[in-house]
C-alpha cells in the first residue's frame, strides 16, 4: 500500500511549529484534547500532513494511529494542502442527477487527483462538496469564489485553461 502522504513537500515554518506546540501545551492535560488540537493545527497549516500529526501525537502522548484515525474520520480535516485554485464540484442530489459525477471524474482524471488532493505544482486542489444552494444551475462547480453553472464534461478544458499559464 502506498503511503498516504501528500505529493507536495512539507513547508511548515518554525513559527507555525511554535504556534502548534503552544496549542498542544494549552490542551495537554484536558480529556479529549485531540479534537481541539487538530482543529487548531488545521487552522495553522491549512492541512494535516504526517509531520504535523507526528508533532501532535508526541505532544499529547497518543499513538500516531489514533491521531490519523480521527483525522480521517471527520471530513473537515484534510491530509492534503489546498491549491492556489481550489476546485469544488457539487455532488448534491440535483447536481448529481444532472451529471456532476461525470464532471468530477473527468477532473480527477485530467488533474491526476483523488478527492481532497492537490496537484504537485500546488496549482489545483479538488474536492467534492455538498449542495451549495445553486441547484437551478446544476451541475455546479466553483473555483475559489468563481461559480460555474450548467457545466458539462466538455467545458472542463476551457475552465482549467483560465487558471493555467
Amino acid at each position: 500500500m502506498a503511503k498516504a502522504t501528500g505529493n507536495l513537500p512539507f513547508s511548515g515554518t518554525p513559527e507555525q511549529e511554535a504556534e502548534l506546540r503552544k496549542v498542544i501545551a494549552e490542551h495537554k492535560d484536558e480529556k479529549g484534547a485531540l479534537m481541539p488540537v487538530l482543529h487548531k493545527a488545521q487552522e495553522i497549516y491549512g492541512y494535516l500532513p504526517i509531520e504535523v500529526q507526528t508533532i501532535i501525537a508526541e505532544g499529547l502522548s497518543v499513538p500516531l494511529q489514533e491521531v490519523y484515525g480521527v483525522a480521517t474520520f471527520y471530513s473537515q480535516f484534510s491530509l492534503y494542502p489546498k491549491g492556489k485554485y481550489k476546485i469544488s464540484v457539487c455532488l448534491g442530489t440535483a447536481c448529481y442527477v444532472k451529471g456532476a459525477g461525470d464532471v468530477f471524474d473527468k477532473l480527477c482524471k485530467k488533474l491526476g487527483l483523488q478527492s481532497g488532493q492537490c496537484t504537485p505544482d500546488g496549482r489545483f486542489s479538488l474536492d467534492a462538496c455538498r449542495c451549495i444552494g445553486a441547484c437551478g444551475l446544476a451541475p455546479v462547480l466553483t473555483v475559489n469564489d468563481e461559480v460555474y453553472g450548467k457545466v458539462t464534461v466538455d467545458d472542463i478544458d476551457t475552465i482549467l485553461a483560465k487558471y493555467t499559464g
Binding site: M1, A2, K3, A4, T5, I50, Q53, T54, P63, L64, Q65, E66, V67, Y68, G69, T72, F73, L79
Partner: protein, 583 residues
C-alpha cells in the same frame, strides 16, 4: 460481592451484580454468540451478534456490555433475535472476500462457524459494491488482508490495550472504514513489534502468519541439506490443541515422533539452549553487579519485547542483556560446535525452529545473528504451521508413539522448560545465580521461586543472595512493560533484574500458538493451563532442574566454550541492538 437474580429464557439465575448479560447467560449454561467481544480488551458492543431481548426494553441490547439488574428478564434465542443475527451475518458477508476454501482460517473461522450455525443459506444475499484492498505482506512475520476483515476491532484493541503499540487502527469512516497503519504505511515501516497477538485475536482470515512450510518441506527433500529442528518449550504445551486434545496437554512425545516422521535429520530441544542462555545471562548479571555495569539488567529472550524496547524505549537498550535468545543460541551452536563435531559444513546445515511466536520470524533476520558466517536460523515455523505440516503429511498425531528428542542437543533441564511461561526465565536464572554466588545447593522446595510465577501482569520479589538483596520484577504483556519502564525511568522503582515477555502469560500464550476462538478465550484461563504443562515437566518429568547441571551444557563449556562469558562465548552467543525510533 452481592448477587442479583434474573431470569434468562425463563430460568432463574443468580449472578454477581457486576456481571454482564453475556456472563450471566454463561453461568446459566447458555452461550450467546459474539464476534467483536474480547474480554478485557474489546468490549464495545459493535458487531451486534450478541443481541438479546430484555423484557420492557425498547430495543435489543448487546449482551456483552449490558449489565445485569435485579429481576431482569432476558431472552437469548427468540425468532426475532435469530433472524437479526442471521441478517447481521449476511450483511458482514456482503463485503467479505468469500474465498473460504483457500483461506488460512477455513475450518476455524468464527464468521464461517456462525454462518453455519445460523443457517445462512445464501452468502450472496446482499451482493453489491465491494471494497478491494491490496494485502500488506511487507512485514517479516505476517500478512494483513483487509478483504477478509469484518471490522470487529479485536486486532486494534489488543495492539493498543494489551501491547500498548497501536500501529493499526480504524481509518476513514462508513463504507471506506478499514484497518490500517497511520498514513497507510506498510506494516514493516511502522513500529510494529511482530508479536502476532492480532493474529490470534482475529476471528477470520484477515491476519495470518507468513507461512514457511513450503521452504521447510523443500529443505527436508533436499539431500544435500542436513536439516535440524528445535522446538521451544511452549510448543509442546499447545500443539495438541490442533489435534483435538484438551488445552493443557503435554504433547511432547507425539510432537517429537511427528517431527521425525516428517523427515528432519535431528530433532532437538530449545530447552537445551534455554539452559545455555541461563549460563550466559546469569554470568552477565553477576558481572554487571560486581563491576558496576548497567542495571537493571533486562532479559532479551522475547523478540517482540526487544523490538518494542528498540522502538519505544531506546534509552533502555543498554539494560538489555546482550545474550541472544534461546532460538538464536541454538542455531549458533548447531552451526559452530555441532557442525565441527560432526564434520558438516555449516552451509549445508538447515536449522528450523518451531516457535510459539511470530516475532521469531523477524528475529531470525536481525543483524548480528550469524555466528558461523551464515544465518543462525534458516526458517521459523509457528506451532500452527507445524500442525499444518503434520496434517499435510497425513500423520495421525494422536496415534503416534511418544518418542524422545535426539542426543545431545535434546537434553534440557526443568529450568529450560519453564522458559515458556512468564517468570520462568527469572526463576531459571535465580536457580543458577544463587548457587553460583552463594556456593549452596538448592534442593526440593528451595528451587521453587513461587513469587515470580503466575499470570499476573507485573510481579515483584526480592531475594537475599549472599550479601546482596536482589530485587527483581517480572512483566508480561507490553502495556505492563510500559508501566514498569515508566516507573523505572521516573526513579519510582528500582530493580536489579527484570524479565519481560511481550505476550501476556509468556510464550505459552504467544502469537504463533494455536488459535482459540473468543468463546473459549473469554471463558478459559488458557495461559495458566498451558503453563501448568511446563511446571509439571520441571517438577516430575525432567532429570535436571538447574541449567548448570545439564550434562550437555557442562560438556559444551568444558570442550568448546571454556566458560560463560568467555571470548568465544561472546562471539557465538551474544548480540547487539539498534535504536529504531518510532516509524
Amino acid at each position: 460481592m452481592e448477587n442479583v437474580t434474573l431470569k434468562i429464557n425463563g430460568m432463574s439465575v443468580s449472578v454477581p451484580q457486576n456481571s454482564t448479560v453475556l456472563e450471566a447467560a454463561r453461568i446459566a449454561g447458555i452461550n450467546i454468540p459474539t464476534l467483536c467481544y474480547l474480554k478485557g480488551y474489546n468490549e464495545i458492543g459493535a458487531c451486534r451478534m450478541c443481541l438479546v431481548e430484555i423484557k420492557g426494553a425498547r430495543s435489543f441490547a448487546a449482551a456483552c456490555v449490558q449489565p445485569v439488574g435485579e429481576g431482569m428478564e432476558v431472552f437469548t434465542n427468540t425468532p426475532a433475535l435469530i433472524k437479526s443475527r442471521k441478517n447481521t451475518l449476511e450483511l458482514l458477508l456482503s463485503t467479505h472476500d468469500r474465498k473460504c476454501l483457500s483461506c488460512s482460517r477455513s475450518g476455524d473461522c468464527e464468521l464461517q462457524r456462525l454462518s453455519r450455525e445460523y443457517g445462512v443459506e445464501d452468502e450472496h444475499r446482499f451482493d453489491g459494491e465491494m471494497n478491494h484492498y491490496e494485502p500488506d505482506a511487507s512485514a517479516a512475520h505476517m500478512v494483513r488482508d483487509n478483504n477478509k476483515c469484518i471490522l470487529c476491532r479485536r486486532c486494534t484493541a489488543v495492539c493498543a490495550n494489551m501491547q500498548g503499540v497501536s500501529v493499526i487502527g480504524v481509518t476513514e469512516r462508513g463504507f471506506q472504514a478499514h484497518v490500517a497503519s497511520p498514513f497507510e504505511m506498510d506494516l514493516a515501516d511502522t513500529s510494529c513489534v511482530s508479536c502476532g497477538q492480532c493474529i490470534v485475536a482475529c476471528p477470520t482470515g484477515a491476519l495470518y502468519e507468513k507461512d514457511a512450510t513450503a521452504e521447510v518441506f523443500a529443505a527436508i527433500n533436499d539431500p544435500s541439506k542436513h536439516v535440524v529442528v528445535q522446538t521451544a518449550p511452549a510448543v509442546r504445551a499447545a500443539i495438541g490443541e490442533e489435534f483435538g486434545l484438551p488445552i493443557g496437554t503435554n504433547a511432547k512425545g507425539k510432537m517429537v515422533a511427528a517431527l521425525r516422521r516428517l523427515g528432519f535429520d535431528k530433532v532437538f530441544d530449545t530447552d537445551f539452549s534455554a539452559d545455555l542462555t541461563i549460563m550466559e545471562e546469569a554470568n552477565e548479571f553477576i558481572e554487571r553487579v560486581k563491576n558496576g555495569g548497567k542495571l537493571p539488567m533486562i532479559t532479551s529472550c522475547s523478540p517482540g519485547w526487544v523490538k518494542f524496547c528498540e522502538h519505544y524505549y531506546g534509552d533502555f537498550i543498554e539494560n538489555l542483556s546482550t545474550c541472544k535468545s534461546p532460538q538464536q543460541m541454538f542455531g549458533a551452536i548447531v552451526k559452530t560446535y555441532y557442525a565441527e563435531k560432526n564434520n558438516i559444513d555449516p552451509k549445508d546445515i538447515f536449522v528450523v525452529s518451531v516457535m510459539p511466536c511470530t516475532a521469531k520470524k523477524f528475529e531470525r533476520g536481525r543483524e548480528d545473528q550469524s555466528a558461523a558466517g551464515v544465518p543462525d536460523i534458516d526458517a521459523v515455523l509457528t506451532t500452527r504451521e507445524l500442525a499444518r505440516m503434520i496434517k499435510k503429511a497425513g500423520l495421525l498425531f494422536t496415534s503416534l508413539p511418544d518418542e524422545d528428542f535426539d542426543l545431545p542437543l535434546g537434553i534440557g533441564s526443568g529450568a529450560g522448560a519453564i522458559f515458556g511461561a512468564t517468570g520462568g526465565v527469572m526463576e531459571a536464572a535465580l536457580r543458577t545465580a544463587v548457587e553460583t554466588l552463594t556456593d549452596t545447593k538448592l534442593e526440593g522446595k528451595a528451587l521453587d521461586f513461587v513469587d515470580v510465577r503466575g499470570t499476573k501482569g507485573i510481579k515483584e520479589a526480592s531475594y537475599q543472595v549472599g550479601d546482596l538483596n536482589v530485587k527483581v520484577a517480572v512483566v508480561s504483556g507490553l502495556i505492563n512493560a510500559r508501566k514498569l519502564l515508566e516507573d523505572v525511568r521516573a526513579g519510582k522503582a528500582d530493580y536489579h533484574f527484570i524479565e519481560v515477555m511481550a505476550c501476556p502469560g509468556g510464550c505459552v500464550n504467544g502469537g504463533g500458538q494455536p488459535i482459540q476462538p473468543a468463546s473459549v478465550r473469554n471463558n478459559t484461563d488458557i495461559q495458566a493451563l498451558r503453563a501448568s504443562v511446563l511446571y509439571d515437566e520441571d517438577l516430575t518429568k525432567l532429570e535436571y532442574r538447574k541449567s548448570h547441571e545439564n550434562p550437555v551444557i557442562k560438556e559444551l563449556y568444558e570442550t568448546y566454550l571454556e566458560k560463560p562469558g568467555s571470548h568465544k562465548a561472546h562471539g557465538i552467543l551474544h548480540t547487539s541492538y539498534v535504536n529504531r525510533g518510532l516509524y
